[in-house]
């Protein structure tokens, strides 16, 4: 399952729809806090990758990364940052980065590094 953490409703729903259309299972959260609550009931094996926005209310992407890395149960889940800020790549040099506006091809190829290809027959 892919976890999408994005506060902008249109972007969040769109990402979840597109990934769903590709055949992936998707979990969506609108901020870091909501995502951590969801992850409490799941293990690292349930989530193949987390797609993370940075600027969010309640709990930002920066804070989420701090929490996730300090929790041994979640630390091994790969994270991909989605941001329009060039500086974001420089803040997290060890985390893959997809620049907004997101190129669909780039996003799908990045996701494919950690998530098994969706079952054949999924519509594009």
């Amino acid at each position: 399952m892919i976890m999408v953490i994005e506060d902008d409703r249109d972007n969040r729903e769109l990402l979840c729809d597109i990934l769903g259309l590709q055949g992936y299972g998707v979990a969506c959260a609108s901020n870091g806090r909501e995502a951590l609550s969801f992850l409490e009931a799941h293990t690292a094996r349930d989530i193949c990758v987390i797609l993370l926005d940075l600027m969010m209310p309640v709990m930002s992407g920066y804070e989420f990364v701090d929490h996730q890395r300090s929790n041994p149960r979640l630390a091994s889940i790969p994270v991909v940052i989605m941001s329009a800020r060039w500086e974001a790549r420089q803040t997290f040099t060890d985390i893959p980065f997809v620049r907004k506006p997101i190129s669909l091809e780039e996003l799908l190829s990045t996701v494919g590094r950690w998530c098994l290809p969706p079952p054949s027959g999924a519509s594009a």
């Binding site: 902008d8 249109d10 597109i18 600027m55 800020r85 790549r89 420089q90 506006p101 594009a124």
Partner: protein, 353 residues
């Protein structure tokens, strides 16, 4: 010791006149001894921090600095005979608040039998707290604005790209989707340029240099541009050793601005050529089309220059020249009836990581 000030100007009739002058100055002035003790200061130096003269003079300067490493560095440089100019520091007020200052200072040395003697520093403190506050508010505003404008643009672009993938789309609909994508990308580029411009006002562009292959960056940008402009003939050519120490993201941004500028304002084919130029690499972006008027060429790299069209804000080439300049490089443009060519040189920055 500098003897030019040994004789006071004739209009200074007494020492009191000089003291009155420095006591009423709006710039903070102080002397510090070799051990860091404040020997003398004018009110503009200690009053903004909330102290009285007796709470400040006679104390060690390090007590008033919020960053110990900063004052340690300043004192070390001064002791070594260096003159510091507009060195940024943070001072702690009596109530705990922080004031941002720029310090300009040098040491008065006296030559004697025992060698050179540190007499005192000559420090001028310029308070920039208000300017810092405005800069921080501006950065916050720009950041929030950028975030809020980009989110809907991102959704428009992604939705359009997903629609384009649909096999049942009619040709006429596909063209509509193409226009949505292109317009959203143009808007997105304008937002990025505007934010870059607002952030960079009055500031030196920070760079994060890393070992980068310039050819690979160009190739990536050309591929990205092909997605946005599938019908444009875009050609790339690279030759020679193209590695160096540059800020990869900034280079990508500059190349992208140059390529999109050529696509939007020129005629195809657009050629992107990058080659080994010895201690620098040379990037040439060429397009065909109408030449740029001679009188417009000189303003091309100025902000809000819209001499080549009205598709954008006129910031793209300005940002390119800022990025090239920050890397110590140069950029030039040649335009004639045959083609328009932007030639930039990017020093490899060996060792500057």
């Amino acid at each position: 010791m500098d003897t030019s000030s040994a004789q006071p100007p004739p209009f200074v009739r007494s020492l009191e006149h000089l003291l009155d002058f420095v006591d009423t100055a709006s710039t903070g002035l102080h002397w510090v001894g070799a051990d860091g003790t404040i020997l003398w200061a004018n009110p503009a130096d200690y009053e903004p921090l909330g102290y009285r003269a007796d709470e400040y003079i006679g104390h060690n300067i390090t007590e008033f600095h919020a960053g110990r490493e900063v004052i340690t560095d300043i004192l070390a440089r001064l002791t070594a005979g260096e003159r510091i100019h507009a060195y940024e520091a943070r001072l702690r007020c009596k109530d705990g608040a922080i004031r941002h200052v720029q310090i300009t200072s040098s040491v008065l040395f006296e030559e004697g039998d025992g060698g050179r003697r540190f007499v005192h520093t000559r420090c001028y403190t310029h308070d920039v707290t208000e300017r810092k506050r405005i800069e921080q508010a501006r950065d916050r505003f720009v950041s929030i604005l950028g975030h809020d404008l980009r989110n809907p643009l991102n959704a428009i672009t992604m939705a359009a790209v997903q629609l384009r993938r649909s096999p049942s789309l009619r040709d006429v609909d596909a063209r509509m989707v193409e226009r949505i994508t292109r317009s959203a990308e143009r808007m997105s580029r304008m937002v990025t340029d505007l934010i870059e411009f607002a952030r960079g006002l009055g500031a030196r562009m920070p760079l994060r240099r890393e070992l980068t292959n310039f050819g690979e960056v160009c190739h990536h940008i050309v591929e990205e541009t092909r997605h946005a402009y599938p019908s444009v003939d875009l050609q790339t050519h690279s030759e020679g050793e193209l590695s160096g120490y540059w800020d990869r993201d900034r280079v990508a941004q500059a190349v992208s601005n140059l390529v999109v500028n050529a696509v939007q304002h020129g005629s195809p084919p657009v050629r992107v050529m990058v080659r080994d130029g010895g201690d620098a690499i040379v990037l040439e972006v060429t397009n065909r089309g109408l030449p740029i008027a001679n009188e417009a060429l000189s303003d091309l790299f100025e902000p809000f220059s819209r001499t080549t069209g009205t598709d954008g804000l006129g910031l793209g080439l300005f940002i390119v020249s800022e990025i090239v300049g920050a890397h110590g490089g140069t950029i030039d443009v040649q335009s004639d009836a045959d083609s328009t060519r932007f030639v930039s040189r990017w020093p490899r920055g060996g060792g500057q990581q």
